[in-house]
């Protein structure tokens, strides 16, 4: 039931495309102290493209979850292309946000966090962040954000016009041996998809440093039920 041309900004097609742009934004600019969330879609349009696929043009605002509702909203524009291929392939995003470099720097917190955990003795390991009651220790918050940013790589890759992903919780974080001066973290994350209402579990290996940002090195889909064998896509 796709319409071409202007889209209603409050309706789900625009929102799902904006969420994809958000995942892209977080993969590039997310950190242990910065995760962006969608505030509002202002304008949206979509058209089918010649090569097969659908391109969305979006005008939207985002906020940094870290600063809560007190934080400034950043205005962004994005083109999101959902390819139409036999087998699923990742959407392509082009994104521009105003004043990205003007938002409050988190360099100090990032450095302190990095110095604390890059030491060879550091062996962080934790489960269920947050716990069932939404509680998360202050120490775990940067790890939760890192997981959320790393999960954005997966959510971006797995997204289509028929999905809408958020991270439901971090099942586990296990620090691995640092490599090339990068913090190495193995996460198991639980993702929630709105249309199917499914909880999808992924194990991933991510690296981070203040200089290089977040990179995801390995991902592995995890079956939830013992008898389930095939991944969603």
């Amino acid at each position: 039931m796709a319409s071409t041309g202007d889209l209603e900004p409050t309706h789900y097609p625009a929102r799902r495309a904006a969420q994809v742009a958000l995942h892209y934004l977080n993969t590039h600019h997310g950190s242990p102290f910065r995760v962006f969330g969608l505030q509002q879609v202002h304008k949206a349009s979509a058209e089918d493209v010649a090569a097969g696929g659908r391109k969305y043009k979006l005008d939207f605002s985002v906020t940094d979850w870290g600063s809560g509702s007190a934080g400034p909203a950043l205005r962004c524009s994005a083109d999101v292309l959902f390819p139409r291929t036999e087998r699923h392939s990742a959407p392509e995003v082009q994104l521009h946000c105003e004043a990205l470099h003007q938002i409050n720097s988190t360099a100090q917190e990032e450095d302190a966090f990095y110095q604390k955990y890059i030491s060879p003795d550091s062996t962080v390991s934790a489960r269920d962040i947050p716990d069932s009651f939404g509680n998360m220790s202050e120490e775990m918050q940067p790890f939760w954000r890192l997981a959320r940013v790393a999960a954005s790589f997966i959510m971006l890759r797995e997204s289509s016009e028929n999905t809408e992903f958020n991270m439901a919780k971090v099942a586990s974080v296990t620090q691995q041996e640092s490599s090339e001066e990068q913090l190495m973290l193995e996460f198991v994350v639980l993702l929630h998809d709105f249309p199917s209402q499914e909880i999808v579990q992924w194990k991933l290996l991510a690296s981070w440093s203040p200089d290089r940002g977040v990179r995801v090195l390995q991902t592995e889909w995890q079956p939830r039920c013992p008898h389930a064998t095939k991944p969603p896509n």
């Binding site: 409050t10 969330g37 509002q40 009651f133 958020n166 639980l190 209402q197």
Partner: protein, 309 residues
């Protein structure tokens, strides 16, 4: 009001007695038939408002909201003339945890926290548990937004009303069809107010009015803590679906039928932190009361109704 306070305790006592931890125990869901109402006794016919919370197990903020709502109305009817008037003309039927099996299961341990469905055992060859109660109602059942895979989180059940929870609500609403003016069903997350219908090609006859009422409720919500809620049909603002309780209520003629999707928008999702429970409930209360007041004023033009305590 003694009768009304006792009615809340009856509901909670029933829940407590049935919380035995065994799944798909034959809970006597006919207790919903004999559910007591919250409101003043009256010699003139009253209308009713239904609110259910916790159709989906993992949406914990919803049962919290029902409890908050009950606490607010019972705590204010003596001093708040508006609530006092509502009690004169309306009865409130409130079920704080509709999906008892699922909710109890979601409390079991950290691995069960994100359970959604009922806990009925799979039928036939199915090795998975549970049916999505909000796809199981006899309202365009099976048409859209469902899965026939019994392991799916949107499995709509072997048949419509296969689940005793859905059947109990259906029977109750059917029996009180002429009384119930307003049907509210509380979920999370998304910060949405959804109006019927879940099928993209079907419109409620009072769509315009439902949108107006929904938008007024969203405005009331925003006034509390600045939280934005979007309003629209499910196929417009969320996704198409069928077999929902909201659609069933509208289809049998209950004119004002809304789904609330409470906080947040995906940051914490189902696992809302403790410090957000109170504000989430406060704002949703204003939204719900906005709708209840509209419905009341439309049906009770004068406040002069004979009522006794």
């Amino acid at each position: 009001m003694k009768g009304s306070v006792i009615s809340v305790l009856v509901v909670l006592a029933v829940l407590d007695r049935l919380a035995g931890g065994l799944e798909h125990r034959s809970y006597d869901y006919t207790k919903y038939h004999t559910m007591d109402e919250i409101g003043f006794k009256s010699t003139t016919p009253k209308k009713a408002v239904w609110m259910d919370c916790g159709i989906h197990a993992r949406e914990w903020i919803a049962p919290a909201f029902c409890q908050h709502f009950v606490k607010e109305i019972l705590g204010s009817y003596k001093t708040d003339s508006n609530v006092n008037m509502l009690f004169k003309n309306l009865d409130f039927y409130i079920t704080p945890v509709l999906n008892m099996d699922g909710y109890i299961y979601s409390w079991r341990d950290k691995t069960t926290r994100l359970w959604r469905k009922s806990r009925s055992p799979g039928t036939g060859n199915c090795t998975c548990f549970g049916t999505d109660l909000n796809r199981n109602f006899y309202a365009n059942w099976g048409m859209v937004g469902i899965s026939r895979d019994c392991c799916s989180d949107i499995y709509n059940g072997p048949t419509a009303l296969s689940e005793p929870e859905a059947k109990a609500v259906t029977d109750f609403l059917g029996a009180h069809q002429n009384e119930v003016l307003c049907y509210l069903t509380i979920h999370s997350y998304g910060q949405l107010i959804l109006i019927p219908y879940g099928h993209p090609n079907i419109s409620a006859p009072n769509y315009e009015e439902l949108m107006e009422v929904g938008l007024a409720a969203a405005k009331a919500i925003k006034a509390v803590h600045g939280t934005s809620y979007k309003v629209g049909t499910a196929p417009d603002i969320l996704y198409a679906n069928s077999g929902t309780s909201r659609d069933f209520a509208r289809l049998i003629g209950i004119p004002y039928s809304f789904t609330f999707e409470l906080r947040d928008k995906g940051n914490y999702g189902f696992i809302l932190p403790e410090d957000q429970i109170q504000p989430a409930c406060e704002e949703a209360y204003q939204g719900a009361m906005s709708i209840v007041n509209y419905v009341h004023d439309k049906n009770f033009k004068s406040a002069a109704t004979t009522a006794t305590l």
